[in-house]
Every structure is written in C-alpha cells, then in structure tokens.
C-alpha cells in the first residue's frame, strides 16, 4: 500500500518530448487506469514510475519518498508486461519465485510462498511446466503471480490483456479486479481499451499527446468529458460531434443548415462551438416531429441487444444507439430528438469543455 505522487514529470527522447509535464496523485490502495490512444505517453509514464525509463524532469514519489534515482528493485513496484516476459527456460514455479531467489529468500520459505501464490491463481497443477507449454491465459496468470509474490507496494500493468482473445480478456479483467480487492495494493493499469478502463478503474486518467486530459471516476469521465478528445475517445460508438455557432435563437449547426432552440446560458452570440451528443442519448421519432432533427438512415448495425443506426445529417455522420426493435430501412427519413441536458459543448478553438448546463447534470453516483 502506497500513494504515488507525480509532479511536473516530463520525458524527452533526444530532442522530442513525449510527456509534457504530468501532475497526478494516486491514493493508497486505489486502482488507477491510464487510458489513451497509442503513442500518447501512457506506457512511458508507467515505465517512469517503474524505474525502467529515466525521468527527464519533475519528480515521482512513492509513499512521499522521491524515487527518481532509485533502481526498479528499490521502488517496491511489480510489473506485469504486455507480452508477459516470462523466462522461457524456467518452469512456472521458478518464474514466480525468481525475485525471491535473487533476494536470497531460503528455499523452504520460497516454496511455501510460491505454493500460496499458485493457489490464489489456480496454477498449482502447472508449477512444473515451462511457459512454452502454457496457454495465453495461463501465461498471463504466471506473470501476475510473479508480480504478486513480492508483495509489492505498487502493481503496474502495461496493457496486460491486449494479447488475449476477447473471452479470456473479460475473464482476466474480473480476475484482476478481484485480485485487487484481495490485495488492495495501489495499482496502475495502462490500456488503450476503453471498456477495460471503464470496468477496472476506481479512477481514470485520460491521456492524449503526452498530456493528461482528464482525471476522474469512469462515470464522471463518461458523463462530463473535460475535452472534445475525451468525449470522442471514451464511449462506443463515439460521441456525435456537430460544429455550430451560437445565435440569438439558440444554435445554428452545420454551417446554418440546422437550427436548435436551446438556451445559450453563458455563451456569447457568434462563438463557435462543437456540440456533442452521445448516441445513447438520442431518441428516434417519426420524421416531421416538431423540434426534431431530420436525417436519412445510412446503415443499421445489429448488436443483438440493440442496434446502432448510422444516419446522415446533411453530410455529417451521426449515430444513434437504440434498444427498441426498430429496423429503419437505409435511405428512409427519421427524426432525431434529445434532451437539452444531454448536450455537451466544447470550444471549437481549444477543444475544452464549456459548462453550459452545469446545474442540470446530476453528479454521478459512485
């Protein structure tokens, strides 16, 4: 159990800067997920915490002790790698016990602790196998065992599930979650998969281009994205974005072809905004309903439990998620309706959130 404090951390590779000053605080025992597209610097940040990557500027402290200059082994972190990085020539028990062997733990105690970890991870019958003879999920569990056995203060996960098939990924996800509940060690989990991020995280850190875009609970990030990037990155299908301008009557969208009568509290007339609306928040109505936007159906995707309907709104792509059993024909006209409180406004220039309807958005329950 340890808290992690990150202050103004930057990372340069030769002349290119890949992490531009990150400030974060992870509380003790928290499960933090760092989410972002590939190349956003999330793995680099994780590796700086682990000590595998030098910190160009700023400080990282674990339990209030600055660890910038410490070797990985002195930081009390354990890491699970994307490709598991099991030692191919060692058996499962040797793999799990290697850190103890290096630390000079006597054989008897070592065997005992390996057994204990293997029991938790249900690896007991595999202890004598080599990694080659294991399935992907089993290798993943050995990698976790190797991290667990040291009883580290901090667990670091570097996209550990991305090499597994879909079914196994769901299963391992819940196992990691259960494991965290048992051990309650501070965990930092890096992923580009938003479902993984939403389901695992106590707190979510969304990164883009070497900067932190938003920190919050998954519910907060989903319901009140702090920037246009976060809004479109979190949630599937992605949030619909319509370019618009604030007018006297409300909003003029898509170069003036569509009008929306909404209150423009706080927004200056003439300012350019991007209006976001989640596909789940859109209702389909009969074409011609007053106040509804009219659109043409492009494509219907059947998901079993619901449907994603892609429509064309004067050339702008727009999607609707519905659980109703409707099957609009491609090419037919439909009406789109949504509540004013479901709209998200972002500045067209900075991409930052404009809080127009702050009061009407309920605080997410944890």
């Amino acid at each position: 159990m340890a808290s992690i404090t990150i202050r103004g951390v930057k990372k340069n590779y030769a002349k290119t800067q890949v992490v531009h000053g990150v400030d974060l605080d992870f509380a003790s025992g928290e499960f933090v997920v760092i989410l972002g597209p590939s190349g956003c610097g999330k793995s680099t940040l994780l590796r700086m915490i682990a000590g595998l990557e030098e910190i160009s500027d700023g400080t990282i402290a674990i339990d209030n002790m600055v660890v910038n200059k410490l070797e990985p082994r002195e930081r009390g972190c354990a890491m699970v790698f994307q490709n598991y990085a099991l030692y191919p020539h060692m058996s499962v028990s040797q793999n799990i016990g290697y850190s103890l062997k290096v630390a000079g733990v006597p054989t008897a105690e070592r065997t005992q602790r390996i057994q204990a970890v293997a029991r938790v991870l249900e690896l007991e019958h595999l202890l004598d196998r080599k990694p080659m003879a294991l399935s992907g999920g089993q290798r993943q569990r050995v990698a976790m065992g190797r991290a667990m056995i040291r009883e580290p203060k901090v667990f670091l996960f570097d996209e550990p599930l991305s090499n597994l098939d879909a079914k196994l990924r769901v299963q391992m996800r819940s196992e990691i979650r259960k494991l965290h509940r048992r051990l309650s060690a501070t965990s930092v989990f890096v992923t580009h998969d938003q479902v993984e991020a939403m389901t695992l995280a106590d707190r979510l850190v969304v990164m883009n281009g070497g900067r932190v875009e938003q920190v919050g609970t998954p519910a907060e990030v989903y319901s009140r994205p702090a920037s246009r990037f976060v809004a479109t990155f979190v949630g599937a299908p992605a949030m619909n974005m319509l370019e618009g301008e604030v007018t006297l009557e409300g909003l003029s969208l898509l170069g003036g072809s569509r009008k929306l009568n909404v209150s423009r509290a706080g927004l200056a007339v003439g300012s350019k905004v991007a209006v976001g609306i989640r596909p789940e928040a859109v209702r389909m109505v009969a074409p011609g309903t007053p106040g509804a936007l009219e659109a043409t159906v492009d494509l219907v995707e059947e998901l079993g439990a619901g449907r994603v309907i892609y429509v064309d709104l004067d050339g702008a792509p727009f999607s609707v998620v519905t659980s109703e059993t409707v099957h609009p024909e491609p090419g037919s006209a439909i009406g789109l309706q949504f509540a004013e409180s479901d709209l998200h406004f972002f500045s067209s220039e900075t991409g930052g959130r404009l809080d127009v309807f702050k009061a009407s958005v309920p605080e997410p329950a944890l």
């Binding site: 682990a50 000590g51 595998l52 070797e71 990985p72 082994r73 972190c77 354990a78 890491m79 790698f81 994307q82 490709n83 990085a85 099991l86 030692y87 191919p88 020539h89 290697y98 850190s99 290096v102 630390a103 080659m132 190797r146 040291r150």
Partner: protein, 304 residues
C-alpha cells in the same frame, strides 16, 4: 518453393547421393589404404578392396608416433580454446549489447578489426609476445627510464620475463583472443526481447545475475554451436602449435602426423600414415556427432 512429385523427389535424392559420394570417397580411400600392407598400398593403381591389416596398422601408427599423449595435448588445447572462446565471446557481446558506456563503439570496432587480423597475419608479433608476455612493459620501463632509475636507486636490474612457449596457456590464449564468437552472440542477444531484461530488472536481478541466470541458459544452443566450431578449428590448428611447441611433451596430434609421413629415402609406409590420419580424425568426428543436434539449432533458429 516446396514441390513434391515422385520424379522431382528421385532427382533431388540422386543429387544428394552424388554429393554424399563425392564427400565421402576420400575418407573411404583413406580407410582402405589404412587396411593394406606395405606392398598393396604402393600398387598402382591401389586396390579398392580392403586389405586385412587394418588393426595392425592402427597399432603401429599409435606406437610409432606416440599418439596417446599427443591426442591428450590436442584435446586439452582444443577444449581450452573452445571454452575460452565461449566465455570471452559471451562476455564481450554482453558488454556491447547491454551497456551504454563511453567508447562502446570504439570497443565494438576494435573487436571487429580482430576479424580482419587472423593469427596468420600477426604471427610474428604474437610469437614475440608469447615468448615474453611482459616484453611490452619492459620496453615501456626502459624507454621512460624507469628501469634505469630503479637500478640507480636500489641496484636491482628490472628484467620482466614471463615466457609462454611450450605451455598450454601459450597454445591456447592467442587462439582465444579473436572476435568470431562475439558476433554470433551479439546477433543472438539482439533477438532477446527487451521485456525479459526489464522483467529481470523488476525482479531485482543485477547485470551479472541477469547474464548468468537468464542470458546464458537462453544461449546454450549458441554455446554448443560456437564450442563445436571452435573445437574443430583449434584441433586442426597447424601453424601455431608448430611454431611454439619445440618440446615433445607439448606436441599436438595434428602437427605430429608428419612423423608418420614417409621421408624421402624411407620406406613408403603410406598405410601407416593413413591409419594415423584416421585416428586423429576421430575425436572431432565424435564431437560433431554428439553436438550436432544443438549445433544446428544454435546456428539456424532462435528458440522461442
């Protein structure tokens, strides 16, 4: 292109067989010659039917050239060179691949250059050094006047001398110090995933621990391949042992083979020479047969 038709199969096997016969024929002739007696072996043309004196000839060759101790010498030297090469190569490649230090590229190129300077090219200076390993230091002391100074002050004349002629170290060390193996290891180390190194660091293993616990076990196929090649290479060395072993007690099997070769004016005992050749060929053959499984794996593929 993988194609399987009976006709193609037949021809590929035919070509293989022809190649096999071509390679093996000289050895068969040697073996046949070794089984003849003095008269038959000098018939022109020599009969290709085996004679009956094989074991007699082998025994004669063994005692005439006193092959027992010489085979042992050869074995010590070849084994020493192979082991030394494997260790030195692994260490140098480890340094070049895994550490970033000033002068790393310089080291790399220095090692690389030794590839262009085989022993035969630098044999005279190498001989001088082996004759007295401390000679260069003596020269430095003399040139800088330090030895003169020491003599003036203490009355002791500095005379550094450590000769390695007629010794196993003298035979082995100069053959060990080349770069052939370093590059084999370097290529292998470059294929070891970085994550393995990082995992070892997270597990708390230091550099040498990582080298011994992770890298060496992973490169055992490489070791076998390099060890085999170097054993054969060292076993077949002729020039170097000939130069520095004047003493019979350190004579090598390969160089001493010439004792069995008939002199001008002597009896043309080619059957004995051939028998001796067979004996001396045997140990490398055994090594290749025993090691070939590892050897091939080490050269063609990296184990997953």
């Amino acid at each position: 292109m993988v194609e399987r038709t009976p006709i193609l199969n037949f021809f590929t096997h035919l070509i293989l067989f022809a190649g096999f016969v071509f390679c093996v024929a000289p050895f068969v002739i040697v073996a046949i010659a070794a089984s003849h007696n003095l008269k038959d072996v000098n018939d022109v043309p020599m009969s290709l039917l085996p004679g009956s004196d094989f074991w007699v000839n082998i025994k004669t060759a063994w005692t005439t050239a006193d092959l027992g101790p010489k085979l042992l010498n050869s074995f010590i030297m070849a084994f020493g060179v192979a082991a030394g090469k494997v260790i030195i190569s692994a260490l140098t490649a480890f340094s070049i691949v895994y550490f970033r230090y000033p002068g790393r590229m310089l080291m790399f190129w220095l090692i690389f250059i030794t590839l262009m300077l085989p022993l035969e090219v630098r044999i005279v200076p190498t001989y001088a050094v082996v004759a007295n390993v401390l000679e260069p230091y003596q020269a430095i002391l003399d040139l800088t006047g330090i030895s003169w100074l020491i003599q003036k002050i203490s009355g002791v004349q500095v005379q550094l001398s450590l000769g390695l002629l007629n010794s196993y170290s003298g035979l082995i060390l100069p053959l060990v110090a080349t770069a052939t193996g370093t590059f084999l290891y370097r290529q292998f180390f470059l294929t070891v995933p970085d994550e393995l190194t990082e995992a070892a660091r997270m597990d708390g293993a230091g550099a040498m621990r990582f080298f011994v616990d992770i890298l060496l076990p992973l490169s055992r196929n490489n070791m076998a391949a390099l060890g085999t090649i170097m054993f054969l290479w060292a076993w077949n060395q002729y020039l170097w042992p000939l130069l520095i072993t004047t003493d019979q007690s350190h004579a090598m099997a390969v160089t001493e083979l010439k004792q069995l070769i008939p002199n001008v004016g002597g009896a043309p005992e080619w059957h004995i020479a051939m028998a001796g050749t067979l004996i001396i060929m045997l140990p490398p053959l055994v090594v290749v047969v025993l090691m070939q499984r590892w050897f091939v794996r080490g050269l063609i593929a990296t184990e997953k």
